[in-house]
């Protein structure tokens, strides 16, 4: 077995040192009735090429995004990732290291996390960011709980523009009840949030660009929240947008959470991704997740350590701010490397390019009979009202090898008013030919 170094002779020699006759003797603590005496009903070990054949066959049954026109967004976006990013994250020293609990021999990971935290804080316009969360949706749920701790209140108002799956994750973490107000879906960018804010409100949660693609007014909502002593949580699922729209921190957000997948990370069928979380300095002690901080070593040299761990489960156990332990280290590294390659100049260009491609898509789609564009504003994603149920249209276009977008009904079933809505995104990878194919396909299917 290629991964197991011992020969049988070595095993025997080691058993001799231990003073046991067989390895089974070492399992003496296991109740006899629970010890497997026969082999399990599983295939035997295989050479590399056979494993590869098996996996390639499974892979081949999927239609990759790059195999044709592709317009799916809704919380995960297909962007180009520079080849150097994937090379660097496969460096053994990054890939096969553990959480940097021994800082003297983990400065690579720690300095990278410090740089990542700075990039995220600057990108969101906030004071500080943590060293990443599982993904955007769980980061949103953690932000909501953090807001409850900070305000000692428990009412949360979720805008109707929040990604429905994010709303559902918040509901799972918080539990159902009057304390959780989920506003009706707002595909046309409707407001109505401020009317719900009262003295019991811990936080308003909004998303921009929202699930339907609309850019939301952060500033007025921050003012409405703050007037009642509540916090404003801003969710961003397309991090590239922050290259073109104003940073939520500059507009009064108290906590910004985001899905960082767009930068440096592949689609991966939903994971692993990287949750970003940033906040104001005064709220740090209630922030969940790992934090990397700067210090000096015994010789006065600058170095980095995990810090403020008295918030965390391995120190505080049942009194911790969260049960979170593992973060998304390697995905955060990919994010950070890609962001370093982009820099402000590159990110701005990338964001403009995305917006330009989406504008071209919107212009073309508006000419298709049976299509109504619901957005006055968008970054790279928009919602269409079609003249028939969107799920049927998407399926019909699959037959033409076009992946047209996400029918809203997939995330919001049983709501007739949403049945004809289609959410679709363009990125720098969307070509004119892709758009032309979609337009031609839609004309046919909607006719």
């Amino acid at each position: 077995m290629r991964y197991l170094p011992h020969s049988d002779a070595e095993r025997a020699e080691m058993l001799g040192v231990i003073g046991a006759k067989t390895i089974e003797e070492l399992f003496a603590g296991v109740p006899r009735s629970a010890l497997q005496t026969t082999s399990l009903d599983l295939p035997g070990h295989q050479p590399e090429y056979m494993v590869e054949n098996h996996m390639r066959a499974l892979s081949g049954k999927n239609r990759a995004a790059g195999d044709g026109p592709f317009f799916v967004g809704a919380g995960a976006y297909r962007h180009h990732v520079p080849a150097s990013v994937d090379h660097l994250i496969q460096r053994s020293e990054f890939l096969t290291a553990y959480t940097p609990y021994q800082p003297e021999i983990s400065q690579g990971t720690l300095q990278m996390l410090f740089e990542f935290q700075t990039q995220v804080a600057n990108l969101t316009g906030m004071d500080v960011a943590n060293a990443s969360m599982y993904d955007g949706s769980t980061a949103t749920a953690e932000a909501v709980l953090m807001a409850c701790r900070l305000t000692r209140r428990n009412k949360i108002i979720l805008s109707g523009g929040i990604h429905p799956h994010y709303r559902d994750v918040v509901r799972t973490y918080m539990g159902e009840g009057e304390h959780l107000v989920c506003l009706e879906a707002s595909p046309e960018g409707q407001g109505g949030i401020t009317a719900e804010v009262d003295d019991a409100t811990a936080a308003i949660v909004i998303q921009t660009p929202d699930f339907y693609g609309h850019l939301r007014d952060v500033k007025s909502l921050a003012e409405a929240a703050h007037a009642k002593g509540a916090l404003l949580i801003v969710v961003v699922t397309e991090a590239v947008a922050l290259g073109l729209i104003e940073a939520p921190g500059a507009l009064g957000a108290d906590i910004v959470v985001a899905e960082g997948q767009s930068i440096g990370n592949a689609l991966n069928f939903g994971g692993p991704y990287v949750g970003l979380m940033a906040t104001r300095e005064k709220f740090i002690r209630q922030m969940p997740g790992r934090l990397c901080g700067e210090t000096v070593d015994a010789e006065g040299k600058r170095g980095f350590v995990l810090t403020l761990s008295t918030r965390e489960q391995h120190i505080r156990r049942e009194k911790a701010t969260s049960n979170i332990c593992t973060n998304s280290g390697l995905c955060a590294l990919a994010f950070s490397i890609h962001m370093s390659l982009l820099g402000e100049a590159g990110l701005t260009k990338l964001a403009r390019l995305n917006h330009a491609r989406a504008s071209a898509l919107a212009d073309a789609l508006e000419q298709v009979p049976g299509v109504e564009l619901l957005n006055d504003t968008f970054f790279n994603e928009m919602t269409l009202r079609l003249n028939k149920p969107a799920a049927e249209v998407v399926e019909a276009l699959v037959a033409k090898n076009i992946i047209a977008g996400v029918p809203v009904s997939r995330l919001e079933p049983g709501k007739p008013e949403l049945e004809n809505l289609l959410v679709l995104a363009a990125t720098e990878l969307t070509s004119d030919a892709d758009i032309a194919a979609l337009v031609a396909g839609l004309k046919e299917v909607l006719a």
Binding site: M1, G29, K61, V72, N268, T310
Partner: protein
């Protein structure tokens, strides 16, 4: 709390920004000290936009994000990487963490476009291979654990704990037993266990370990009552021992109407050898990043699927896969089911699933069982070679996949567990887990995994014995001053926490802020 306005450290960037340090241990400036906002390592067309569709939302403030060209970026990150120790560069015997070899085949396969370049919300008819892969992995997990269901979406071990405990909560509420508000957690548990229970509003009752480092069924029975919802028990436990009374404990827990959550962090000791379902567990998370070798990546990402007993299966989170003739469908909504809800936006850690399945297929059932046996053999070999000198608090019995020592052998030497760990760094080894579990004084928890050769284990044991002899001989400086050969000497963690600097700020901006 005093803060320094998130500026640079009071100490200047020292030599780091000026010199490159020693030949093979380069100091590396921060990205922000190398790059600037005009440089970029990505060539993109500069397109004009009208801005009409941005409303009044266009960005006005600068981002202060420096860029690097590709050669600069390569050098920056390669240099940073060299400041890390990793499994590929040396033995990394961190107890409870299962730092085993990460096969590169798995990296290659996870990057196939049919896995890496598919979207979680593209039509289900276009991702049948992905669903088949998830099902195949789920089947392996169920066979290895003898359970009837598995929730695949949890993102990591602690997320899996949350999943399992939410299923337990939902099951009890469905039975009209929502009044059960206590969760039993042994003292030796990982911190995530009590944190998870508290997160869900349970109060935590601690169960003591006995003199052998395990939990007595009688201690559990004493603590059980009508208010107890569940026990969270790690098995093999964090002392590296199999709980000998686990079957009795499971029975007592069930008789009291409670559930048995098993922390599966130490599944590596028993994969293919003991099926947790045979022990009576109701839920157990499996850290794919430990047992099935999806890389730790410097702290993640992980993956924590949770196997469930028949009693809990109906409460599993959405989404889940259902077979429909020859094809598979994704059940993404809980209506009409007893699912407790959604734990994450999408379907879980697909990138980890591909790696874990590749690991399983490579090993086969036989290789996995041999791996567990070798992991146990290696830990016992270390224990046998060290225990004449090191103090094993629960000696006199074989251990499972990790060997636990306390610090009594260092008594009077002036050397602490921390000092000893730091001295190991100078000998080229990553330290073992220190001061955990909490049930022994100055714990040293050594988990070699099955990946280490006898030769490496011998070098490790020789080194440990030599260090112990030196500590006892009173050569304390080697320990208290360690590490001396690492990229950094000991770091001032108190200072980091007292006045947190969590972000880099340009010196000019810092100066202006001060004025």
């Amino acid at each position: 709390m005093s803060m320094n306005n998130q500026g640079r450290p009071t100490a200047p960037a020292n030599d780091a920004a000026i010199t490159t340090g020693a030949a093979l241990l380069p100091d590396e400036p921060l990205l922000f000290e190398i790059g600037d906002t005009d440089h970029s390592g990505v060539d993109l067309p500069d397109v004009e936009i009208t801005g009409a569709r941005l409303g009044n939302h266009a960005r006005k403030s600068p981002l202060d994000l420096p860029g690097l060209t590709e050669p600069e970026a390569m050098r920056h990150y390669v240099r940073l990487s060299r400041l890390n120790m990793s499994i590929d560069s040396g033995m990394y015997p961190l107890g409870s963490c299962t730092m085993k070899h990460n096969p590169r085949l798995n990296e290659k396969l996870a990057r196939l476009p049919g896995f890496a370049d598919i979207h979680p919300l593209q039509p289900v008819s276009t991702v049948q291979g992905a669903l088949e892969l998830i099902d195949e992995l789920a089947d392996w997990l169920m066979v290895l654990t003898n359970t009837s269901a598995v929730a695949m979406s949890p993102k990591a071990g602690a997320h899996g704990e949350l999943c399992g405990m939410m299923a337990i909560k939902a099951a009890q509420e469905a039975r009209g037993e929502g009044h059960r508000k206590v969760v039993l957690v042994p003292e030796s548990a990982h911190g995530t266990n009590p944190a998870t229970a508290a997160f869900l509003g349970y109060s935590v009752k601690s169960i003591p370990a006995n003199a052998n480092g395990t939990v007595d069924a009688s201690a559990v029975i004493d603590a059980l009552g009508p208010d107890v919802a569940a026990i969270m028990l790690t098995n093999p436990n964090t002392c590296g021992l199999f709980e000998p009374e686990v079957i009795e404990i499971a029975k007592a827990v069930h008789d009291a109407g409670a559930f048995f959550y098993c922390d599966g962090a130490n599944f590596n000791a028993i994969m293919g050898v003991v099926r947790p379902g045979d022990l009576g567990i109701d839920a157990m998370h499996i850290n794919l990043h430990k047992t099935f070798s999806t890389p730790h990546g410097g702290g993640g990402p992980g993956a924590g699927p949770v196997v469930l007993s028949e009693a809990l299966a109906p409460f599993a989170p959405i989404p889940f896969i259902r077979k429909d003739g020859d094809s598979r469908v994704l059940v993404e909504h809980g209506e009409g089911t007893q699912s407790f809800g959604r734990l994450t936006a999408f379907h879980g850690q697909m990138g980890m699933f591909t790696r874990a399945l590749s690991f399983m297929l490579s090993h086969g059932g036989d290789g996995l069982a041999q791996g567990a046996k070798d992991a146990v053999l290696n830990a016992n070999y270390i224990k046998a070679r060290l225990e004449k000198v090191f103090s094993a608090p629960f000696g006199g019995q074989p251990c499972m996949h990790e060997a636990l020592f306390d610090d009594s052998f260092l008594e009077g030497s002036g050397v602490t567990t921390l000092d000893f760990a730091k001295a190991m760094i100078d000998e080229g080894f990553h330290p073992m887990t220190m001061y955990f579990p909490l049930v022994v004084h100055g714990a040293m928890l050594i988990e070699p995994t099955e990946s280490e050769s006898k030769q490496t284990l011998d070098t490790f044991c020789d080194t440990m014995l030599e260090l112990a002899a030196d500590a006892k001989a009173g050569h304390t400086t080697r320990f208290t001053a360690a590490p001396m050969k690492a990229p950094r000497r000991r770091l001032d963690e108190t200072r980091a926490a007292r006045s947190p600097v969590l972000k880099w700020v340009a010196p000019v901006a810092q100066q202006e802020a001060a004025e």
